[in-house]
Symmetry: C2
Subunit: 324 residues, 2 copies
Amino acid sequence: MKTKSTIVQVAKRIGVAPSTVSRAFTDPGKLKPETVQRVMDAAAEIGYVPNHHARALITGRSGAIGLVLPDVANPFFPPLIRYAQLAAEDYGLAVFVADTAEDTKRELQMIERLSPQVEGLIIASSRLSDRVLQTIAERQPTVLINRDVAGVPRVLISTSKALEEGLRHLVEAGHTRIAYVGGPARSWSDAQRHGCVQSTLERFGLEPHFFRAKSGNYADALEVSGEVEAAGATAVIAFDDVVAHGLMSGFRAHGLRVPEDINVLGCDDTLAITTHPPLSSISLDLASAARSAVTILRSAGRPGASSDQRFELEGSLVLRGTTN
Amino acid sequence: MKTKSTIVQVAKRIGVAPSTVSRAFTDPGKLKPETVQRVMDAAAEIGYVPNHHARALITGRSGAIGLVLPDVANPFFPPLIRYAQLAAEDYGLAVFVADTAEDTKRELQMIERLSPQVEGLIIASSRLSDRVLQTIAERQPTVLINRDVAGVPRVLISTSKALEEGLRHLVEAGHTRIAYVGGPARSWSDAQRHGCVQSTLERFGLEPHFFRAKSGNYADALEVSGEVEAAGATAVIAFDDVVAHGLMSGFRAHGLRVPEDINVLGCDDTLAITTHPPLSSISLDLASAARSAVTILRSAGRPGASSDQRFELEGSLVLRGTTN
DNA sequence: TATTGTCGTGCAAACGTTTGCATGCAAGAG
DNA sequence: CTCTTGCATGCAAACGTTTGCACGACAATA
């Protein structure tokens, strides 16, 4: 592990000022092409690589962003991590990932810890209050994912249109007792989906039946399946695919067949074809969402950036084997 | 977004030298308790928070580690991320996550990009060659997870004992045609499991049947299930739970019942009870693994650190509904 | 030929810390 | 009463960059 080489060593080597070496890396257009080449060669020879921290210290830009999310293990998030990282790469940014374990206290703590060492924060599915989020956003560039807070840039992955379409499909197929099984109480997505089911069903003159899988995990959904069944629902919309999966297992355990006895529509399309039968769901363009978030983050803090950007994109209905 | 406050502003405020403020934060024992208190109060008042980069510049420690892994979306890794982050937190370290998308080129690239800005690297399930990994480890503190390269610190999550136990169980239940369906070709875990199945079965005087799900994902496993069936296997060991899941779906599609017609044993226990029937698998202590990795990383680079640490921990067999 | 402009490069002052050394002071030892 | 010791703090030099300003050379214009 030999000692790191610096910009002045490179400079000495070819008899040039340190500032010239610096410029060769940060703004080559200012230099004679030949000089740039000489610098690059020398740098390569002695294995010079710019010191991130020195650079960050003087420019005030850390070259990193933070991605905070409630639960890495929830299949919704890993793709988000991947795409966010991919997008960040294009801007030369690295990504800190912080798992808050669905804990508000911890979320705040992680944000405060990350805050000073990143250029911006992407906060996905935050459980924090609007006020707190606004305060955070005032302090540094922030973009929210799936959380709609006025005045702070956000990208929302809406499922309203697709959900409406799915509901219409169910109603047309003759279903009249339709249930919605919600997820985490503080989740924006859950509120949105809940509201959509309610208003759409009312429009059809149907009364919605609401249930909730407290933590939105498989076990909770499994448990609540009995109630759904007891309510006599013939179709159920699940907060997300993992809830849908749990419900299906519960139904099967009780001898109900999907889709013959009860239809199931998931959301987020994280499980795709891995259930039996393959789960009908609502597919999300996470790649776009992540890319937008990073882009917005980049432009935030810049002069003339609107602080009230709201980027909404729609999921699309994918009918597979759990609906008829 | 008011301007950040610095150490000298805090110092001025209470008429003390900047170095004193610095010490209050880094080495309070050196100061009179009363002074420390005054510094802390003043810091809190003007909202001072130490600048990470300035600190990193002079100490040479960046306060971050990198975690590189082949695929965030593989359910094996999210828990690893969470636990690694938890362990890192205890040392005041933040975690960069890098997804290599199972691509060797990209893995190397990510490592080189991350390398200058972290204190150490945790590389999980690397697809790089031994030689390359050794070179990397020479340049900076590195610990490998599930990769056994001499001379570089590593934590191995072995499944040999549990696998042997599982095989014995199957054999005692009367199975004679037992198959192993492997995963990614360059994976250490796969090689280890393959070898274990081979030697154990030979010991029992049985001939193993080998197959492979190329990328180790659900779709590949689904596809290979036909071959396994055609070979007349009555029990199959899968590289991991997602392969097991794919196989089960394939079997079911062909009218085979699990476990009546064919037994299935997964590995890594990432799917737990979410399959039907609940998957027998081998459970891993990822929390310990992550914690060890971080701890080893911390001690590496320190004087007197052995460069050949090899930390091995065993998985444990969990019999559920897919074996009899 | 004198004047202005452009281009390529160097100089030196930051950026916000940490840390070895020096200093002053009070208390204990002789 | 002097001398030593140790503690609490201050001073100033780093750490490795970036960047505004200045400078000289040369070309273009007048």
